[in-house]
C-alpha cells in the first residue's frame, strides 16, 4: 500500500574530523556507519543508544545541519546534500534539543514560537494563528506572555516543541528532550509528544536514554558505534534483555521484572512492558493454577 515516506536514508555514514593541538586535521572519528532509516508519515520512532553511539549525529543529518559522507538521505523528498533545499529540509524536520534554555531565542514565549515562521517569511496574521494553534497543542497558551526564564524545564521544552510545530514540519526530531528535566517535567513532555502523535498525527522521532519513554513507540531503533543494531517494536526489542545489557542499555522496569520471573520458571508471555500488563499476566497465572509458583516467589 506504500504509506508516504517522510525520511528515507540508506547506507548513511559520517565521520567527524578530529583536530590536533595545532588545529591540523589529525584523525577521523566515525559517528555513523551504514545506517538505514525509513520513517513513514504519522509514525512514532524511538532511537536508543549508549553515549557516543551516534544518535545526535543522526538527528543532525535529518535537519541538514550535517550532510552524510556516504549514502543518501531524503527528507520529505528533498535530498539533504542539495544546498538549494536546505530550508525546505529544515522546515520539514523540526528539531528539539536537549537543553531547554539554549534553544529559546526570544524573551517572550509567544515570540519564541513565532521565530520559525518569521524566518520562513509567513505573513504576520498567519504567524499569530500558527503560534496560537501550536501553543494550544502543547498546553502553553496561557503562558504566552511569560518570560521563558520563569518557566519550569518541562514547560520550556513544551515551548520549544511549540516553536517547531509552528513551522508545520512533516516530522519532529527530539534529541534527548527530557535528559535535563525532573521526573514531573519528563512525564509532561512525553505526554505532550504522545498526544501530538496520536491526536495530531505528527511524525515523531524521539532520541532518548530512557527506556520507559520508548514503550509507546511504533518502532525502536537501537544504535551502537554508529550502526543500527536492533530494530523492531517495543515488545520485540525489550524481550532481548541480555543483548541490551551487553549494549549497556537497560530495559523498562516491568519488562526486566517479567524477564527475571521467567528466568525463575514462571511461564509469563513475551513482550510485557508496563506494570499493568505484568499485573494482568500474573493474575492470569494465578487463575490458571500456578498459584503455588507465584506464592513461592
Amino acid at each position: 500500500m506504500g504509506r508516504e515516506k517522510i525520511i528515507e536514508g540508506s547506507g548513511l555514514s559520517y565521520h567527524y574530523t578530529v583536530y590536533d593541538d595545532e588545529g591540523r586535521p589529525a584523525a577521523k572519528q566515525t559517528a555513523l556507519d551504514g545506517v538505514d532509516l525509513q520513517v513513514e508519515k504519522g509514525q512514532f520512532i524511538a532511537i536508543l543508544g549508549h553515549n557516543g553511539s551516534g544518535k545526535s549525529t543522526l538527528a543532525r543529518h535529518l535537519n541538514a545541519l550535517l550532510v552524510p559522507d556516504g549514502g543518501t538521505l531524503y527528507v520529505n523528498g528533498y535530498d539533504t546534500r542539495n544546498d538549494t533545499h536546505v530550508w525546505e529540509v529544515r522546515q520539514s524536520a523540526g528539531m528539539v534539543f536537549q537543553n531547554p534554555d539554549n534553544q529559546i531565542i526570544a524573551s517572550v514565549v509567544a515570540e519564541d514560537v513565532g521565530f520559525g515562521p518569521e524566518n520562513m517569511g509567513v505573513p504576520t496574521e498567519k504567524i499569530w494563528k500558527r503560534v496560537e494553534q501550536a501553543l494550544k497543542m502543547v498546553g502553553m497558551w496561557e503562558e504566552r506572555d511569560a518570560s521563558p526564564n520563569r518557566l519550569s524545564g518541562g514547560q520550556k521544552q513544551r515551548v520549544a516543541i511549540a516553536g517547531v510545530i509552528a513551522m508545520r514540519p512533516a516530522c519532529i526530531v527530539l534529541d534527548e528532550p527530557t535528559a535535563m528535566l525532573d521526573p514531573a517535567g519528563r512525564t509532561e513532555v512525553i505526554r505532550t509528544i504522545r498526544e501530538l502523535n496520536e491526536q495530531e498525527k505528527v511524525t515523531i522521532i524521539l532520541i532518548t536514554h530512557n527506556m520507559e519513554e520508548t514503550v509507546y513507540a511504533d518502532r525502536i531503533l537501537v544504535m551502537d558505534h554508529g550502526k543500527v543494531v536492533m530494530s523492531g517494536n517495543a515488545k520485540e526489542v525489550f524481550s532481548r534483555v541480555e543483548e541490551l545489557e551487553h549494549l549497556r542499555l537497560g530495559v523498562p522496569q516491568p519488562a526486566l521484572l517479567a524477564w527475571k520471573l521467567k528466568q525463575k520458571g514462571l511461564s509469563l508471555p513475551d513482550g510485557i512492558l508496563t506494570m499493568e500488563e505484568l499485573a494482568e499476566a500474573l493474575e492470569e497465572l494465578r487463575k490458571n493454577g500456578q498459584r503455588g509458583a507465584v506464592r513461592e516467589l
Partner: protein
C-alpha cells in the same frame, strides 16, 4: 533572586509615553541630545529643562526612578565639573595658590553639568517607558536605513535581544558557580582589590566555557529553525505608526525649531551666572 533584575530598568505603565512607538522615542531622544550639544545657551537650557519636566510628568514614572540614573554618573559629573571649573582659562575671579577659577570656567561647569543631567534624564525616560524588546524592535525597524551605510542593523538588534534573554541565565549560573566555589572555601568578599579580582578567575573560566557552549547550542537551534539573517524575514509584531506617533513626530520637530529660535534670539543672563 537574580531573575528579578530587569534590564534596561523598564518601569511598567500605560502612560502616553509608554504607548508611543519605540521609533518615535528613539528619534525623540536623539533629537533632544543633539539639541543639547548644538544649541548650548542658558536660555535654551531653561527651555529644554521645561520640556523635559513636561515629558517626565507625562511618563507617570515616579521621580525616584528617574533620578536613580543620575546617581550612577555622579562622580563623572563631579570630575567634569571640577575640570571645567579649574582648567578653563579666562577672567580670574578667585585664586588660591595655583588653583584659579574663571568666570568662563563657572559657566562651562554649570553648562556641562546641566547637559549631562539632561542627557541622562532624557535617555532614562526612554528606557523607563520602553521594554528592551520594543527598543531592539525600534532599533531594527527605525534605523533600518543605516544598512545603506553598511551598519548591520538587523544583526545588532538580534544580538541585543539574545543578550537580553541570556543575561539572567548567565547571572544565575554565575551565582551557582560562586556558591559552589564558596562551599569549597573560595572567598570572594575579603582582601584587597587584586585579591578579589584573582578570586574571580575560578568563577569566570567556567562561566566563559558555559557561555560558549550555550552560544554553540543556540546557533544550532536558530539554524534548525530556519534562521538565515534578516533577509526575507517577516515580523510577528511589526511596528505600526498610530496617529499619536505622527503627532509626536510633529512635536519633536516643533521642539527643534523652538529650541533653535530661543538659542538664537533669546538672551538670558542669570544673576548668579557671571
Amino acid at each position: 533572586m537574580l531573575k528579578e533584575i530587569t534590564l534596561g530598568q523598564y518601569y511598567p505603565g500605560n502612560s502616553i509615553l509608554h504607548r508611543l512607538d519605540p521609533r518615535v522615542k528613539l528619534v525623540g531622544t536623539l533629537v533632544f541630545i543633539i539639541s543639547l550639544f548644538a544649541f548650548g545657551s542658558t536660555s535654551a537650557y531653561i527651555a529644554a529643562g521645561l520640556v523635559l519636566a513636561v515629558v517626565i510628568t507625562l511618563s507617570a514614572v515616579p521621580l525616584k526612578f528617574i533620578l536613580r540614573g543620575l546617581k550612577m554618573i555622579f562622580f563623572l559629573m563631579l570630575i567634569t565639573a571640577l575640570c571645567n571649573l579649574f582648567l578653563t582659562p579666562g577672567d580670574v575671579i578667585f585664586k588660591v595658590w595655583k588653583l584659579q577659577i574663571t568666570a568662563q570656567g563657572v559657566r562651562m561647569a554649570i553648562h556641562m553639568a546641566v547637559r549631562l543631567t539632561y542627557l541622562i534624564l532624557g535617555s532614562s525616560i526612554m528606557t523607563l517607558t520602553t521594554t528592551p524588546n520594543q527598543l531592539t524592535d525600534g532599533m531594527e525597524t527605525g534605523l533600518g536605513w543605516m544598512r545603506v551605510l553598511h551598519v548591520p542593523v538587523h544583526e545588532i538588534a538580534m544580538m541585543m535581544s539574545i543578550a537580553l534573554r541570556f543575561i539572567p541565565i548567565l547571572m544565575d549560573e554565575a551565582n551557582r558557580i560562586m556558591n559552589a566555589q564558596t562551599a569549597r572555601g573560595a572567598d570572594f568578599t575579603s582582601g584587597g582589590l587584586i585579591r578579589r579580582a584573582r578570586a574571580l578567575i575560578p568563577l569566570l573560566v567556567p562561566l566563559f566555557v558555559s557561555a560558549f557552549r550555550r552560544a554553540n547550542d543556540l546557533a544550532l537551534a536558530m539554524e534548525s529553525r530556519g534562521y538565515h539573517g534578516g533577509e526575507g524575514r517577516t515580523r510577528m509584531n511589526p511596528l505600526v505608526y498610530q496617529r499619536r506617533d505622527h503627532i509626536a513626530y510633529g512635536i519633536i520637530a516643533l521642539y527643534l525649531v523652538m529650541i533653535f529660535l530661543i538659542w538664537k534670539y533669546v538672551e538670558i543672563s542669570l544673576p548668579f551666572l557671571p
